[in-house]
């Protein structure tokens, strides 16, 4: 009898395994409830908890920080799958994994990690991330929420808006101005727990898309927080943001890929089922052209996203590539959702089919992570500057 000559070592591909696991989760748990939760503008808390139990929120953090030891590539794969099922869930989870927790991870004290980071990574606490104000959207220099030093910490005063999960979060990473005379160099991030006296929020907004998300205005009225709640060094807010800006954009691109995939999958299925003039509509070349464009853009977008996530994981700077990927994938997903509403004919106009939801939900990605007017400007400027 022959012994095998080499000790064979066989291992699975980690990217495939994460995608497979998340795909299975989305097919079984998310897609069946997506319509109901969207219609009732309810957030699927039970799924958020389940994803916490699965260690998803720690996917891009190292194990010694309570994370799952993954990276940006795996994070973005998971976001693609979640957005394929329900954009509101994808967007909220994406925030929990990155913007709402990264400042805390990098600059939080061990006590803050115990109280907020570890529970957040388990899904026991929810975080929100607040840049936008009524008079400061794309223009962060205009941020006017004020952090003023006190004897033993800071006091926060001002107002934020469009805060995803704002009304439901346990803690908030808030961009504040510490010294108005310094403009962008006066910005800093502060951790404000929701139980801080003086913290309040408005009624959640009535939204066009991502209706399961909970978004509102947030008010800070003499919110006193301890000194160590200042995340990072004074005046370093912008650089804290810049550290993850490429990742925020590629995450947004990943959400777009997921929605694009959903619009395409539904369209392909419908093309095979629906007949007109005695044939499945997929036999008509004009319909084939729509499917072809969806598929080509999806493939191209996937390659752009994969390139950027691998650059990030290798510690390379790639902000412009990330901006390009975000701009391209979100525009492509908007086009795919639009084409899907044409392929479905009049049925696209009924709330019974998901394509109307894709059409509405994707529009949120046009603004979050940078508007496309701003992105086109920065991409062009960067290229011309060389």
């Amino acid at each position: 009898m022959k012994k095998s000559d080499t000790p064979v070592k066989i291992r699975s591909n980690v990217e495939d395994m994460v995608r497979k696991t998340m795909k299975d989760f989305v097919d079984k748990e998310v897609i069946p409830i997506a319509r109901e939760y969207d219609e009732q503008a309810k957030f699927p808390d039970h799924l958020f908890k389940q994803l916490g139990d699965m260690g998803l929120f720690g996917i891009r953090y190292p194990r010694d920080a309570g994370g799952s030891g993954g990276n940006t590539t795996l994070y973005c794969i998971a976001m693609q799958e979640l957005a394929r099922g329900l954009m509101s869930l994808g967007a909220t989870v994406a925030m929990q994994c990155l913007m709402a927790t990264n400042g805390l991870y990098l600059y939080g004290t061990p006590e803050l990690h115990e109280r907020y980071l570890y529970p957040a990574l388990k899904g026991e606490k929810k975080g929100a991330f607040q840049l936008t104000e009524p008079d400061a959207g794309s223009d962060l220099k205009a941020v006017s929420t004020r952090a003023t030093r006190t004897a033993d910490g800071w006091v926060i005063n001002g107002m934020k808006t469009w805060a995803t999960s704002g009304p439901r979060a346990d803690f908030h990473t808030v961009l504040c101005q510490t010294d108005p005379s310094k403009g962008l160099k006066g910005l800093g991030f502060f951790l404000v727990p929701s139980d801080t006296p003086g913290f309040s929020f408005s009624k959640p907004f009535d939204l066009l898309g991502t209706r399961s998300s909970s978004i509102s205005e947030i008010y800070f009225s003499d919110c006193h927080i301890p000194a160590h709640h200042h995340l990072g060094q004074e005046g370093q807010g912008l650089s804290v943001l810049l550290k993850i800006l490429a990742e925020i954009r590629i995450m947004t691109a990943s959400l777009a890929l997921g929605l694009h995939r959903a619009a395409m999958d539904d369209s392909v299925q419908y093309c095979k089922q629906r007949t007109a003039f005695g044939q499945p509509i997929g036999n008509y070349q004009l319909i084939q052209a729509k499917i072809a464009n969806m598929a080509v853009n999806l493939e191209a977008g996937q390659l752009m996203v994969d390139k950027v996530t691998h650059l990030i994981d290798n510690g390379r700077s790639c902000l412009n590539e990330a901006s390009m990927a975000k701009y391209f994938t979100v525009e492509s997903a908007c086009a795919a959702a639009d084409e899907a509403t044409r392929i479905f004919g009049g049925y696209a106009y009924s709330m019974e089919y998901s394509v109307q939801r894709y059409y509405r939900d994707n529009r949120f990605l046009l603004y979050g992570g940078g508007t496309h007017e701003v992105l086109q400007t920065t991409i062009g400027r960067e290229i011309l500057s060389k």
Binding site: M1, K2, K3, S4, P7, V8, K9, I10, R11, S12, N13, V14, D16, M17, V18, K20, T21, D24, F25, Q50, D53, M54, G55, L56, G58, I59, R63, G67, S68, G69, G70, L74
Partner: protein, 282 residues
């Protein structure tokens, strides 16, 4: 408790296509998944481990890519995986498959409980569990829908074996059964709700740190002529998809005539609409 779970990687479809020439499954282009029943087997084992302690070993026979089934098992909480992978195992029928699996289990040493799925969605025979139990001379309970009670063997009382009490789903009822350990059970979906893999475990399971071994025929001490195609006692002569052609007939006449004719025909035929067909409408 030392628990072993048999997991099979299967194509993710219930509409399996067969190669008309060889009669084998066409696996190309199909995504692979863990056989659905086996996820319930894993969940059961993990639940027992959490309650009584012990180890869970996932065992699979299949091609190199079947390692994904073991990675998922470890991601869910299994301690280790063993892949039985050898060209000699290819083309096995259920006899050869169960022989191979049982030899590997024997190599694992003393085992308290073997849990497998009731049935694989591709092969569909539901024979592997019972056959493995037979090769190993173990008590078996199939179609298990509930594990009511499990008492591990008490090391302080040698000679007193552990016991498992299960409920089996029968066609028209439920059977309660007690088996001495070691035993083998095959489980059905009703048993539990399988968990999803935990990201940290899953990610680690894809690295060199994962406890996944690959065993070939020599490793488990079988002759290559006893396993795989050569060791199979059955031989597939032909596999085909039954061709049910819809027989269409269009009844002609006035609406009343057509409806009366239709009801007469249905009555004469064996066709059951919902329950027994009774009478004509007024």
């Amino acid at each position: 408790m030392k628990l072993v779970v048999l997991v099979k990687q299967v194509p993710n479809t219930t509409r399996v296509k067969l190669d008309p020439k060889t009669g084998n499954l066409i696996r190309e282009g199909l995504e692979s998944i863990v056989n659905p029943d086996d996820l319930h087997a894993l969940e059961a084992a993990l639940g027992i481990k959490e309650e009584t302690g012990g180890t869970v070993t996932a065992l699979s026979m299949g091609p190199p890519q079947a390692v994904d089934a073991l990675t998922q098992a470890i991601g869910m909480g299994a301690d280790k995986g063993i892949l039985l992978c050898d060209r000699a195992f290819a083309g096995a029928d259920t006899w050869a498959t169960s022989l191979t699996l049982s030899r590997a289990i024997r190599k694992l040493g003393e085992v308290d409980l073997i849990i497998c799925g009731h049935q694989a969605i591709d092969g569909d025979t539901a024979q592997i569990g019972p056959q493995v139990a037979d090769w190993l001379g173990l008590a078996q309970a199939t179609y298990v829908k509930e594990i009511e009670h499990l008492t591990p063997a008490d090391p302080d009382k040698p000679g007193k074996p552990g016991e498992i009490i299960v409920k089996r789903r029968l066609e028209n009822g439920v059977e309660r059964l007690a088996c001495q350990l070691p035993a083998l059970v095959t489980v059905i979906k009703e048993l539990n709700q399988p968990r999803y893999a935990h990201m940290e475990r899953l990610i680690t399971a894809c690295t060199d740190k994962a406890d996944i071994l690959v065993w070939n025929a020599a490793d488990i001490g079988v002759n290559t002529c006893d396993v795989g195609l050569e060791g199979s006692n059955t031989h597939v002569i032909k596999t085909f998809t039954p061709n049910f052609k819809r027989q269409k007939e269009i009844l002609e006449g006035s609406r009343q005539e057509v409806v009366a004719e239709l009801f007469d025909r249905l009555k004469k035929s064996d066709t059951t609409l919902s329950g027994k067909f009774q009478g004509r409408p007024s």
